[in-house]
């Protein structure tokens, strides 16, 4: 198992297997609780479960691609932008999945769903982009400082 996890840095398929299966197992818990608490059938929960799995299915391959990009030593700002865009995309997928699930399970009024989606996206996308942009730049700067290099401007 340890060997498989360590190999996931090199093989996207190993990474997808470990990453997605871990995520799906973790996601199963809340959905089982939902099903028991709200007396929803498996058929009713299947759509929202898959919808909530979509952000991870999009982002986990992107993470692997970003790790590979980091090995190629691109410019820090470019890497920071790529992380920012990827995480913003993950945020969009989460918002869409949550709104869809809310409407599908009857927790959200469809009349307000589109407006709620727009408001959530307006909040989520810039926060996600700039949060990861600055986190990545800070990380690369501190690593460069530790190695005795220069900080990116």
């Amino acid at each position: 198992m340890k060997l498989s996890i360590s190999r996931s840095q090199d093989s996207i398929w190993v990474w997808l297997f470990w990453g997605l299966s871990t995520y799906l197992v973790l996601e199963l818990g809340p959905f089982l609780l939902f099903g028991l608490a709200l007396k929803k059938t498996a058929a009713e929960l299947a759509g929202p479960y898959l919808a909530c799995a979509m952000p991870a299915a999009i982002f986990i391959p992107l993470v692997w691609w970003l790790w590979q990009r980091e090995k190629q030593n691109p410019s820090p700002k470019r890497l920071a932008r790529e992380w920012g865009v990827s995480v913003a995309l993950w945020g969009v997928a989460v918002v869409v999945a949550v709104i869809y699930s809310g409407v599908k399970l009857g927790f959200m009024d469809p009349k307000y769903a589109f407006g709620g989606l727009v408001v959530s996206l307006l909040l989520c996308v810039p926060i996600g982009y700039f949060a990861l942009y600055h986190m990545t730049l800070t990380r690369i700067s501190s690593r460069a400082a530790g190695e005795g290099g220069t900080c990116p401007k």
């Binding site: 996890i5 996931s8 840095q9 990474w15 470990w18 990453g19 997605l20 871990t22 995520y23 973790l26 996601e27 809340p30 909530c52 952000p55 991870a56 982002f59 986990i60 993470v63 970003l66 790790w67 992380w83 995480v87 993950w90 945020g91 989460v94 918002v95 999945a97 949550v98 709104i99 809310g102 959200m108 009024d109 307000y112 769903a113 407006g115 709620g116 989606l117 727009v118 408001v119 959530s120 909040l123 989520c124 926060i127 996600g128 949060a131 990861l132 986190m135 990545t136 990380r139 690593r143």
Partner: protein, 188 residues
């Protein structure tokens, strides 16, 4: 005889032994009920008669001549009162309490909506921080990335619910409050 009403043409209005007919026989002035009836024999209310434009109930008076011919044109219809000349209801004066109520409602909605939007923004930041900390750092801690995605996703989901709530409060409470304050009409 010619009609004096702009709404009633001579061939639309016919007179026979049973009573006057209107709209090519769709409506009949029943001699027994004393009102207009439709083809099924149902008596028209004043509102319904007015809606279909049958003369003689609201805004019209009429009289028929030459009973028994069954062919017409025998209409005499006289427009005595145009429908638009009905008295308009008086506009109620604006109550200060209605306007103040609207302002309070709008302020309450604004505070709630902005509070929820701020919480949503905080939730998003937290979720992206978790994802960044678990997926973006140095190689070797990548195993925590799926767990970080799950935790961050849960937090982002809560933030999305907050964003939805902020929009709902803004449109359901704040905007009606503003409208109430401006137009001075009670809203639900």
């Amino acid at each position: 005889m010619r009609s004096t009403s702009p709404c009633v043409s001579a061939n639309e209005f016919n007179h026979n032994n049973l009573g006057e007919t209107y709209k090519d026989g769709k409506y009949t002035d029943s001699l027994t009920t004393g009102g207009w009836t439709d083809q099924n024999g149902n008596v028209l209310t004043n509102a319904a008669a007015n809606e279909v434009g049958v003369p003689g109930r609201i805004g019209f008076s009429y009289w028929a001549l030459e009973s028994g011919t069954g062919t017409g044109p025998v209409l005499l219809a006289q427009n005595t009162l145009a429908p638009n000349n009905q008295p308009q209801p008086q506009k109620k004066p604006c109550k200060a309490t209605t306007r103040i109520g609207g302002v309070i409602k709008a302020a309450d909605g604004y505070i709630t909506a902005t509070g929820m939007a701020n919480l949503a923004a905080l939730g998003y930041y937290g979720s992206f921080f978790i994802v960044g900390a678990t997926c973006a750092p140095e190689p070797g801690v990548f195993v925590t990335c799926p767990a970080g995605l799950f935790a961050g996703g849960s937090l982002a989901g809560s933030a999305t619910v907050m964003g939805y709530g902020a929009y709902k409060v803004a449109t359901g409470e704040m905007i009606p409050g503003i409208k109430q304050a401006i137009t001075c009409t009670e809203t639900e």
